[in-house]
Subunit: 415 residues, 2 copies
């Protein structure tokens, strides 16, 4: 025991994450996280929505879960109506569970199906948050190959068969079929059918994450997997990307056998999802969904173009491959093999640039050490341009690549 | 596999809670849960607060954790100011973590300190949510004796010494010193000092839950344990009870060594606490805390009196002991030993009455089978009166007790 102090360190549980450093603000060039465009937050309309719902239902805030444990009925109705249109899902408000962000939906599905030592299949490049949750649960992750259209079904079939020969049935295939994270692809309809046929044959549920599916550049894409076969698919989505991430709202959609368990698991982990967020989002989006999402998507597309231009200008041929996304908020890149992006994290941060290194977004860290993800929803186009230039400078200083930026040959002395 | 269906039941994790039944609405006489008084929700003022903060900071909703992972600075400032007055806690906004309800704060402290097989000490009668979380974690719970003033320090000392002889150091003593849940007592200052001296001697942290401490009938009581010794105490509180439970907001206060770990653990479990709730509560309470809490407390005190009168009228001498609470939202009762209240749950529900059976709020289920908790914040005084009468009727029908209600002798035929 230190004098006056208390020997907490002897009492801490094993395997805690390292202590969080004191927060000192956001970096100047912030290319990570699912942040949204601040200029696209409809603050005045949200205030009107809050005023309307508080006048109508304010007294209900006195109750936990005033519309029951599946969430505010008005928001569940909105989800049902939204899904009926875009991915052509037929469901009722009884099939929808509102969650505190789609992250909680992932936790609930994991809690439902997974035990330490289980095996799951994810896309080879995938959402880092899903990977880190599985790691903490002690679950084995197998990566299935992707191409420019998404999951390669023949590759997935081989994996399931290989696992089967070892007596392993994966607990789920987690997929982001529409605006894949991080590659931005949209899985064609035929592959969706093949995926469902394959997993049905092997008795493997499909865990479909459609967090970005409302934010596509062209049309709405093929129906969701859940629309094609609700029995074997658990579907999740989010309002973080279409509206605002700090309103913590996502949802899960499933058949009753699964839903009754998800609801029971949620009741063990919280006392309900914040009601004001639910009421405000339901009120605002029930009048403004198409206009809002249309405008936001246009903004995101413009920012993507600014980022692609900046990357081409600053990195030139040093970018081996760029996955031009079909929607969403991120760009996935591959630099030459001899660049280990994890070694760029510290010097880039020093220059105010933060990005997602490939290994954090990949089932196979070693094979993705030259990949990286850049998010473009938060920064302005000017910040995107300046940040990508700053990043190229760091990259050159650390690796000698890119030799040319904006058609100017760099030398060590150029900075 | 059922035809058309999918064999989920073979895939579910072990030890899942049973499926949740379809929700069919709240019972007529709802005496459970931490619900608040609907008439005391300041809907119009909250709408004004929402409008003000959305105008000022609406664009920030585009960011996760826009003031960093410890929560909105405006709400942390409010917590600091509130704590500086009532329980005389000296802390800064760096010492405060905003949580998604105080339930999340309990989860984080448990995650920080506990592993399966560890031992903790709780008050013999205590918050059912804390007990159920510990049960799921596989932690051993030892109940320390209470009297009408709260924890009996000599009894606690014997428990710690007994455990010590077995080589067990408890990971914490969890206490609700101000408006104890469920007995409603307020621990006197001398006992607080003795508790801190005892636990300091044995190197055991104190986990102080002050969820109800703002809702006392007379004055503010002695300083909180954290105010008396921040080094060895982790302090949590909530806005659920003072404002509205469906705004999911609580907080933890601790020294930096603990705080840096709590923040790291929170970052692993969510993507931040809902920002709109934080902004609205900070805005509203920064102008209205005293007036709001004063009015609410008066309402709660009136409802308590209505409930005490109803219990005395309907149950008479059949109530062996009633703990008259010094604040809060619940009344703790003991019926004669031969009544097992768990057997009243189903017939009471049939009559529209739900209550907390003693075993759910006790470290020793067998020793509390004749205890029960009745919450009075949600129901109106008329509902309280009618519900207690309905409950007495059920109790008589099931057990023959109480024989007299409202001075009328019951017979089996009276209903």
């Amino acid at each position: 025991m230190t004098d006056g102090g208390f020997a907490y360190s002897q009492l801490f549980a094993k395997d805690l994450p390292p202590p969080a450093p004191r927060w000192t603000g956001f970096p100047k060039y912030n290319f990570i996280g699912g942040h949204n465009d601040p200029a696209r937050i409809p603050a005045a309309a949200l205030a009107d929505a809050a005023t309307a719902v508080l006048r109508r239902r304010g007294a209900d805030l006195a109750l936990y879960n005033f519309d029951g444990p599946q969430g505010y009925l008005g928001l569940r109705r909105l989800v049902v109506d939204k899904l009926a249109r875009r991915p052509a899902i037929k469901c009722t408000t009884d099939d929808v569970l509102i969650t505190t962000g789609s992250g909680q939906a992932i936790d609930l599905v994991n809690g439902l199906l997974l035990e330490r030592g289980d095996t799951v299949i994810l896309e080879e490049f995938t959402y880092g948050g899903a990977l880190s949750k599985l790691k903490r649960l002690g679950v084995n992750v197998v990566g299935a190959p992707l191409d420019d259209e998404g999951l390669k079904i023949d590759g997935l079939a081989r994996i399931i068969e290989d696992l089967g020969r070892k007596g392993i049935r994966p607990k789920y295939v987690y997929t982001i079929p529409t605006v894949q994270n991080p590659t931005g692809s949209i899985l064609p309809r035929e592959r969706r059918e093949a995926l469902l046929a394959l997993t049905r044959k092997h008795g493997v549920p499909v865990f479909e994450d459609e967090c970005y599916a409302d934010l596509t550049w062209e049309g709405s894409g093929p129906p969701s997997l859940y629309a094609m076969d609700p029995q074997q698919v658990i579907h999740i989505g989010s309002f973080s990307k279409t509206l605002a991430p700090s309103l913590r709202l996502g949802y899960a959609v499933s058949v009753p056998e699964v839903m009754s368990r998800l609801v029971a698991c949620k009741r063990e982990t919280d006392s309900g999802t914040g009601a004001l967020d639910q009421m405000v989002v339901a009120e605002y989006f029930s009048h403004n969904f198409d206009a809002h999402v249309g405008g936001l998507t246009q903004t995101l597309h413009d920012k993507l173009d600014a980022m692609v231009e900046a990357v081409e200008r600053e990195f030139g041929t040093a970018v081996e491959k760029m996955w031009y996304p079909k929607g969403g908020i991120f760009l996935w890149l591959k630099l030459p093999d001899r660049i280990d992006v994890t070694k760029l994290v510290a010097p880039a941060a020093q220059a105010g640039v933060v990005f997602n290194p490939g290994p954090e977004w990949s089932c196979n860290a070693a094979a993705s050490k030259s990949h990286l993800r850049l998010c473009f929803a938060l920064p302005s186009k000017d910040i995107i341009r300046a940040g990508v230039a700053a990043f190229a400078r760091v990259c050159f200083e650390e690796t000698g690549i890119p030799e040319r930026s904006a058609n100017i040959r760099r030398t060590a002395a150029s900075d």
